[in-house]
C-alpha cells in the first residue's frame, strides 16, 4: 500500500512554504496600505465609479475634475483595453447630487459618459466598519459551527474532538493560503477584497469541510473493520480509497471554474480565482494536512512537539 501518511512531515513543510510567502505579503501590505489585504469600499467606505467615456480621456484630466469637486485623493485607473475608454475612480463618500455634478463636469471638460455601461457605488463609513466586523464574525462563526458539526457527527468514534480540531486547523490553513494569495495579488495587481471575497472564503470553508468529512467518514467506517491494524495504516487505507473521488470531484469543479475564468465576465474573475485557489488547497489539505495531523496527534507526536517547544522535560513516550 502506498504510504502517504508516512511522509507527513514533508507535507507540513510544503504547507509552510505555501503559507509563509502569503504571511510576508500580508505584513508588507499592512505596513504599506494599512491592512493585510487591499480592502474595497465595502469595508473602508468611500465611492467607486466606473465610467465609460465616449471619447478617450487621460488620468490627469479625470483626477482634476474630481479634485475640483472636493475629493482630496481620488485614485484613477484605466480598465480593460484603451479603446474601451473605461476608467475607474475611487474616492470618498459622495451623495447623488455630487455625482450629478461630477458627471456634468466630466461631460463638460472631457467627454459625455455612456450611462448604460457605467456604475457607481458609495458606502458610508459607518456601514463600512460594520461590514468589516460582521465579515470577521461571520468567518469565525462559520468555522466554529462547522467544527462543532463535525464533532457532533463523529461523536460515536473515540476522540471525536480531535477530528473537529484537525478539520478546523486544515481549514485555517486553507484560509491563510487564500488570504496570502489575495494579498500578493493586491500588491502586484491591485486586487481588492470586497464582499464577494468573503463569499469565496465562506464557500471554501464549506467545501473544505465537506471534503474532510468524506475522508473522516471513511476512517470512521474502516476503524472497526481493521481493528488489528495501527491507526496510521487504517488512515492511509482510507485516504487511498477516497482519493479517486476527491480527485474526480476536484477536477469537475475546476472544469467549471476555469471555464469561467477564461471566458466569463470580468467582474467575477477575481472571485472565481480565489475560489479556485481555495478549493485546490482544500483538497490538498484534506489529504496532506488534516489527516496527517490527526495521525500525529494520535501518535502523541503533537504532545511531544509542544513539550519540546515549551521546554518541559519530555516524559518517555
Amino acid at each position: 500500500m502506498f504510504d502517504i501518511i508516512g511522509k507527513r512531515y514533508w507535507y507540513f513543510l510544503i504547507s509552510a512554504l505555501l503559507i509563509v510567502p502569503g504571511l510576508i505579503a500580508m505584513v508588507y501590505s499592512t505596513v504599506t496600505y494599512g491592512a493585510p489585504v487591499r480592502l474595497s469600499i465595502d469595508f473602508t467606505g468611500g465611492s467607486l465609479m466606473v465610467l465609460k467615456f465616449q471619447q478617450p480621456a487621460t488620468e490627469d484630466a479625470i483626477r482634476d475634475v474630481f479634485i475640483s469637486q472636493g475629493f482630496t485623493n481620488p485614485v484613477v485607473q484605466q480598465l480593460g483595453q484603451p479603446e474601451d475608454n473605461t476608467w475607474q475612480v475611487r474616492m470618498g463618500f459622495a451623495d447623488v447630487e455630487t455625482v450629478d455634478k461630477i458627471k456634468a463636469s466630466l461631460a463638460d471638460q472631457i467627454s459625455p459618459i455612456d450611462e448604460a455601461s457605467s456604475s457607481f457605488s458609495t458606502v458610508g463609513p459607518a456601514v463600512g466598519s460594520e461590514v468589516t466586523r460582521a465579515a470577521t464574525v461571520a468567518v469565525v462563526i462559520a468555522s466554529l459551527l462547522v467544527g462543532a458539526f463535525i464533532i457532533i457527527t463523529f461523536r460515536r468514534i473515540p476522540n471525536a474532538f480531535r477530528y473537529g480540531v484537525c478539520a478546523i486547523s486544515a481549514m485555517t490553513h486553507d484560509i491563510l493560503i487564500a488570504l496570502g494569495f489575495v494579498s500578493i495579488m493586491g500588491i502586484l495587481f491591485s486586487w481588492e477584497v470586497d464582499a464577494l471575497f468573503l463569499t469565496a472564503i465562506l464557500t471554501v470553508i464549506g467545501f473544505s469541510v465537506q471534503d474532510k468529512i468524506v475522508v473522516f467518514d471513511r476512517i470512521r467506517e474502516n476503524t472497526p473493520k481493521w481493528r488489528g491494524e495501527p491507526f496510521e495504516t487504517v488512515v492511509n487505507r482510507s485516504i487511498l480509497e477516497t482519493l479517486h473521488r476527491s480527485l474526480a470531484t476536484q477536477l469537475n469543479a475546476m472544469f467549471v471554474m476555469i471555464a469561467i475564468l477564461l471566458f466569463g465576465g470580468a467582474s467575477i474573475k477575481q472571485f472565481i480565482a480565489v475560489m479556485l485557489v481555495g478549493m485546490v488547497t482544500a483538497t490538498y489539505s484534506s489529504i496532506f494536512n488534516a489527516v496527517p495531523v490527526l495521525v500525529a496527534w494520535e501518535n502523541g507526536e503533537v504532545g511531544r512537539f509542544f513539550r519540546r517547544i515549551f521546554g518541559r522535560e519530555a516524559a518517555t513516550a
Binding site: V50, S119, V123, L202, I205, Q210, M257, A259, G265, I272
Partner: protein, 482 residues
C-alpha cells in the same frame, strides 16, 4: 415488487422533467387561472438582479443619534411611505424592505433616472389642505398648489379667502391644445396638523368609520376662517401633490378639530389617519449606501458567464461519460434534470416560501459551483459501487449498498455547505449585499436539489437500467467503468 415501484418513480421523474422543461422555456406565458374561486396569477420568468439589468440600490438608515431607541412603528411607517413614493416611479419590480431595526433597503431595477429616484425617496412628504371650490377632485388626481413654504405652523404666506382657483397663464407662443393647469390654493399644510386618528361616529343609527383630526393653534384660526366662508365647498387633502380625499365643508370649524367623512372602511380610515399623521417621514432618513449600475455593464457579463458555464458543464458531462461510462451517462442525464430543476426553481420559486429567485452574477456562479457538488454526490455513489463490485458483490447488491453507504457522506458533507451558506445569506441580507445573498441562495438551492437528484433520480435511473439490462451488463465490466 421493487421493480414496479421503481418504474413508477421513473415515470414520475420523466413527467417532472417535462414540467420542468415547460417552466424553463423562455417567454413562458405563466399561469393565469380565473375559474370559480380559483384565482391564480403567476408570472414565470427570470428575475434579474441589479447587477444584471442595471438599476439603483439604496440603503437608508434612520438619522438619529447613536443609541437612540427607534420606535418600531415609526420605522414601519417610514418604510410604507418610502414604498408609496417608490411605487410612483414607474419601476416594474421595486423592492422596499426593512433591514434590522434602523435600516430600509430600496432596490429599483431598470430605473432610468437614479438621481430622481433618490430625491423622491428622501422627499419630506408634504401634506396640504387645498381649496377646490365647488369642484370635486377624485383621490389620486395630481394637482399643483401654490404652497411655497410658509411658517412653522404651515400657514401659507399669502392666505387669502378667495375661493376661486388661480389660473396660470399659458406660455407665450405655445398652442392652446390643453387647458392650462389649475393651481390650487393651500389653506393649511401638514406642519399645522397636530394629530389624526381613525375613529367611528354614530350617524342615524349606524356606525361610520371616520378620521378625526386636530390642528395646531394658528392653523386652527386660519381653518376656522376658511370653513366659515366656504361652506358647501370642497376642501381636499393632498399628499405630495396627489389628492388623498376630498370632503365637503359642512360647517364652520372653530376649534381646529374636525372629522373627515367619506365612504371609508375601517381599514381605509386607519390608512388615511396614518397618511395624515405621517405624511412627512416620522424619522429623518440618511443614505448609507448607494449603488447604481448601468444595464449594458451587466448584460455583457451575463452573456460571457453563461457561455463559460456552458463550456465548463460540457466538459464535466464529457468527463463523466469517459470516466464512468454507462453510469456516467446516467449521471449526465440526472445532471441535466438537476440543471432544469434549479432553473425552474429560479423562475417559479417554491411557493409558499418564495415566488422566484433574483439572479445575480454571483448567483449564476453559485449555481455553476453547485453543479460541481451535484456531480460530487454522483461520484461518491459510483466510487462506492465500484468498490463493492471489486469486492465481489453482485451488481444488484453493489448498487444498493453503494447508495446506502454513500448517502451518509453526501448528507453530512452537504450540511456543512448549507451551514456556511446560511451565514452568508444572513450577512448579505443585513447589509443589502444582494450579490452575496444571491450566491448563498442559489448555492443552498443547488445543494438541496443535488441531494434530491443524486438519491432519487440517479438511483432510479441506475435501478431501472439494471432491471432492464442487468444481464447483459453483468459481464461488461468495462461499460460499468471498473
Amino acid at each position: 415488487m421493487r421493480g414496479q415501484r421503481n418504474t413508477a418513480i421513473l415515470a414520475g421523474i420523466i413527467l417532472l422533467a417535462l414540467v420542468l422543461i415547460w417552466i424553463d422555456l423562455p417567454d413562458n406565458p405563466g399561469i393565469h387561472i380565473h375559474w370559480g374561486f380559483i384565482n391564480i396569477d403567476k408570472d414565470i420568468r427570470v428575475h434579474q438582479g441589479l447587477d444584471l439589468q442595471g438599476g439603483l440600490q439604496v440603503l437608508l438608515e434612520a438619522d438619529v443619534p447613536e443609541g437612540t431607541e427607534i420606535d418600531s412603528e415609526a420605522i414601519d411607517t417610514a418604510k410604507v411611505i418610502v414604498e408609496n413614493r417608490v411605487n410612483g416611479l414607474g419601476v416594474t419590480e421595486p423592492l422596499v424592505q426593512k433591514r434590522g431595526e434602523r435600516r430600509i433597503i430600496v432596490e429599483l431595477p431598470g430605473i432610468e433616472d437614479p438621481e430622481l429616484a433618490v430625491a423622491t425617496i428622501q422627499e419630506t412628504g408634504l401634506l396640504e389642505f387645498i381649496d377646490a371650490g365647488y369642484t370635486f377632485l377624485a383621490p389620486g388626481t395630481e394637482v399643483e398648489t401654490d404652497y411655497l413654504g410658509g411658517d412653522e405652523e404651515g400657514t401659507p404666506p399669502e392666505a387669502t379667502t378667495e375661493a376661486t382657483p388661480v389660473e396660470t397663464s399659458a406660455d407665450e407662443g405655445t398652442p392652446e391644445a390643453e387647458p392650462a393647469p389649475v393651481v390650487y390654493h393651500t389653506v393649511i399644510a401638514g406642519a399645522g396638523l397636530k394629530d389624526a386618528v381613525a375613529t367611528v361616529i354614530q350617524d342615524a343609527g349606524s356606525t361610520l368609520p371616520v378620521v378625526a383630526f386636530e390642528l395646531k393653534s394658528e392653523a386652527s384660526s386660519t381653518f376656522a376662517q376658511h370653513t366659515a366662508s366656504h361652506r358647501g365647498q370642497y376642501l381636499c387633502i393632498v399628499l405630495d401633490k396627489t389628492i388623498v380625499s376630498c370632503p365637503v365643508i359642512e360647517d364652520a370649524i372653530p376649534d381646529g378639530k374636525g372629522i373627515i367623512r367619506g365612504r371609508f372602511t375601517p381599514v381605509e380610515a386607519k390608512a388615511l389617519a396614518v397618511k395624515l399623521r405621517y405624511g412627512a417621514l416620522p424619522l429623518p432618513l440618511r443614505i448609507e449606501t448607494t449603488r447604481t449600475v448601468g444595464p449594458t455593464l451587466g448584460q455583457d457579463s451575463v452573456r460571457r458567464s453563461i457561455t463559460a458555464g456552458a463550456i465548463g458543464l460540457s466538459v464535466v458531462f464529457l468527463f463523466m461519460l469517459v470516466y464512468y461510462r454507462f453510469p456516467g451517462l446516467l449521471a449526465d442525464l440526472a445532471l441535466a434534470i438537476y440543471a432544469l430543476l434549479n432553473f425552474a426553481i429560479y423562475k417559479f420559486g417554491l411557493p409558499p416560501l418564495f415566488d422566484y429567485v433574483t439572479l445575480t452574477l454571483p448567483g449564476i456562479a453559485g449555481f455553476l459551483l453547485s453543479t460541481g457538488m451535484a456531480v460530487d454526490a454522483n461520484i461518491l455513489i459510483f466510487e462506492r459501487m465500484k468498490e463493492e463490485l471489486r469486492a465481489g458483490r453482485s451488481l444488484g447488491a453493489a448498487i444498493e449498498v453503494g447508495f446506502n453507504r454513500a448517502w451518509t457522506s453526501i448528507r453530512d458533507s452537504n450540511i456543512s455547505t448549507i451551514l456556511t451558506c446560511a451565514i452568508l445569506f444572513y450577512f448579505g441580507s443585513t447589509f443589502g449585499a444582494s450579490m452575496v445573498k444571491g450566491f448563498a441562495l442559489t448555492l443552498i438551492i443547488g445543494v438541496m436539489t443535488s441531494m434530491f437528484t443524486a438519491v432519487t433520480v440517479t438511483r432510479t435511473f441506475i435501478r431501472f437500467a439494471f432491471d432492464a439490462f442487468g444481464d447483459s451488463l453483468r459481464d461488461k465490466r468495462w461499460l460499468l467503468g471498473i
